[in-house]
Amino acid sequence: MLDSLLSLGGLVLLRDSVEWEGRSLLKALVKKSALCGEQVHILGCEVSEEEFREGFDSDINNRLVYHDFFRDPLNWSKTEEALPGGPLGALRAICKRTDPGPVTIALDSLSWLLLHLPCTTLCQALHAVSHQDSCPGDSSPVGKVSVLGLLHEELHGPGPVGALSSLAQTEVTLGGTKGQASAHILCRRPRQRPTDQTQWFSILPDFSLDLQEGPSVESQPCSDPHIPPVDPTTHLTFNLHLSKKEREARDSLILPFQFSSEK
């Protein structure tokens, strides 16, 4: 399912952490959508353009449209090629494009945007971008838009992360055990139950995605959810069981309302 993440459209949130980084997965998904022939826009804020393009071969590099906000984020050099409005302005400009066809926008990273912009503005902009294809009757039919956002979840409190994940159509949380990375994918379709799935994967050096089976089952020692049932009749201050003598005494007892020969 990891390879069909972009087919659903909308906002795909990649949550990574220090141990399990997500930029390689982001680049793998970017490469996949570039190979499918979609238009790919990158908003690079956290790493330089050379570092992002490293590892891609030249035909993919030619397909990527890179908007650089790393070198000069506040536009102090005032060159003509600077994009007006900052990263959000670039996002809106991508939305207003006129040519149809599916578009993938990769945000590297959403954490950078959260630290520089108010969370509400960012949420509104992401919602406007990712739901653009559902507005009817508005000039030309535009293709589906997928927004891939990389979020370093350790940098933020539960508030912004919760707000962004409630907006996201798909949420991929990276984790893993013992050298093997896993992606926990939570897919929210509107008006349906969310589905989740864990997929083990690894990224090859040329940034293609290699899906794998999970690690072997017996090497998971402490994931046993079954606790042995505790016997509640131990350690009681009163006695629940009868000894043999007591049982015989009980059986030979004459009940008061029974008429017998002695009475």
């Binding site: 969370c119 509400t120 509104q124 409190g157 508030g159 919760g162 707000a163 907006l167 969310p194």
Partner: protein, 385 residues
């Protein structure tokens, strides 16, 4: 003075009264019979609004929430002038259904709708409303689902419903005068019902430009616009009695979706101590003032699981009249718990108002669970726990 002079020689006060009565042919006993609509006195005219009924307990005018089971738990329905707040479940699957049932009930009863959302276009929301069940046959089988007791009373209910089968089938025209309808969640409302209804939509991205400066301690611009919109509609269509209405008096049903989420421009879900953390509470206060002075009822869904500051949730609960929390079992450990296997989640009734009363109409049952069957959303008493 003139009256006294003309009958000053009369026998007494009763005599003078009779004299004046015979003079002007008007008695002091006036029959309050059915009058033509458009008169301005209270009394039996209140009952003439379709889709409403007075409460049997305190005489408040009630509208149906769209789910008869929920109406029963709330003491008959939602009182006019009050706010029903629904705390959304975590993945926002079941709260839109309650929202849509409320709006669909408004369309079927002929009320005016006002739908406000920052997420979806109100026209799209109206397209997805559930279809009302019009057939009495299907009403019978859903009666026995809703009352899930294993007592002989359910047999009696079946018998009563069987008698209704002999009556001619109720054809529901554009407006139905029944209180509370059942809705089929798997079908869409027929298009002609939507077109015959009067509705107003408020979609935030269309109404607001993104570069407004907000001064601190005031309402978020989105909320200001929404309040102005609601106030305009109430004033122009005469729900507060300001414009004398030529046609029949009607009820305005307001539905606000996802209030408090970041898409409305409010940051209570993002930060614990935001810059305008009083924005939502001020909005609710002003909204309640607007509602109390007009013939309207409001439903609000709010993602309270995202709100970081728990004090805000407490204030919001105090500022609303009825608060219902939905807790779905998806993703929690209760999903696999065999005790809950028939249900999809729990309903918590957190607050019921005391309107013109000293006590509120609390139901005795506290453990309520809901399930969404193939067609119907039912609320049942959870007998297990």
């Amino acid at each position: 003075m003139a009256a006294v002079a003309t009958c000053g020689s009369g026998a007494g006060s009763t005599g003078s009264a009779v004299a004046t009565a015979s003079k002007s042919n008007v008695t002091s006993f006036q029959r309050r019979g059915p009058r033509a609509s458009g008169t301005n006195d209270s009394g039996p005219r209140l009952v003439s609004i379709a889709g409403t009924r007075p409460s049997v307990r305190n005489g408040q005018l009630l509208v149906s929430t769209g789910l008869p089971a929920l109406d029963q738990l709330l003491g008959g329905g939602l009182a006019i002038g009050t706010v029903l707040l629904i705390e959304e479940d975590k993945y926002n699957i079941y709260s839109p259904l309650l929202f849509k049932c409320f709006l669909a009930e408004g369309i079927v009863s002929g009320h005016t709708l006002l739908v406000a959302s920052a997420k979806e276009d109100p026209a799209n929301i109206l397209q997805e409303l559930p279809a009302p069940l019009l057939d009495d046959n299907s009403k019978k089988e859903f009666d026995e689902d809703v009352y899930n007791h294993k007592t002989p009373e359910s047999n009696i209910k079946m018998k009563i419903a069987w008698r209704y089968q002999l009556l001619p089938k109720m054809e529901i025209g554009p407006v139905s005068s029944r209180f509370g309808h059942y809705y089929d969640a798997s079908k869409r409302i027929p298009q002609e019902l939507i077109e015959a209804s009067n509705w107003h939509g408020f979609f935030l991205p269309e109404k607001i430009s993104s570069t407004l400066k907000v001064e601190p301690c005031s309402l978020t611009p989105g909320y200001i616009k929404l309040l102005q919109f609601i106030q305009n509609i109430i004033y122009e269509e005469g729900f507060d009695g300001s414009n004398p209405q030529k046609k029949q008096r009607n009820v305005l049903r307001i539905g606000i979706q996802n209030l408090g989420s970041p898409l409305w421009g409010d940051d209570i879900c993002c930060a614990e101590n935001g810059s305008n953390s009083h924005s939502l509470t001020k909005f609710l206060y002003v909204l309640r003032g607007l509602l109390r002075t007009s013939l309207s009822a409001c439903i609000i869904t709010m993602p309270t699981h995202l709100i970081q500051n728990k004090a805000i949730i407490a204030r919001v609960t105090n500022l609303s009249d009825i608060v219902i929390g939905l807790e779905s079992f998806i993703g929690s450990e209760r999903e696999t718990n065999p005790l809950y296997k028939d249900y999809h989640g729990l309903i918590h009734i957190r607050q019921i108002p005391r309107l013109n009363n000293l006590i509120c109409d609390e139901s005795d049952v506290k453990d309520l669970a809901f399930k969404l069957k193939r067609k119907l959303f039912t609320i049942e008493v959870d007998f297990i726990s």
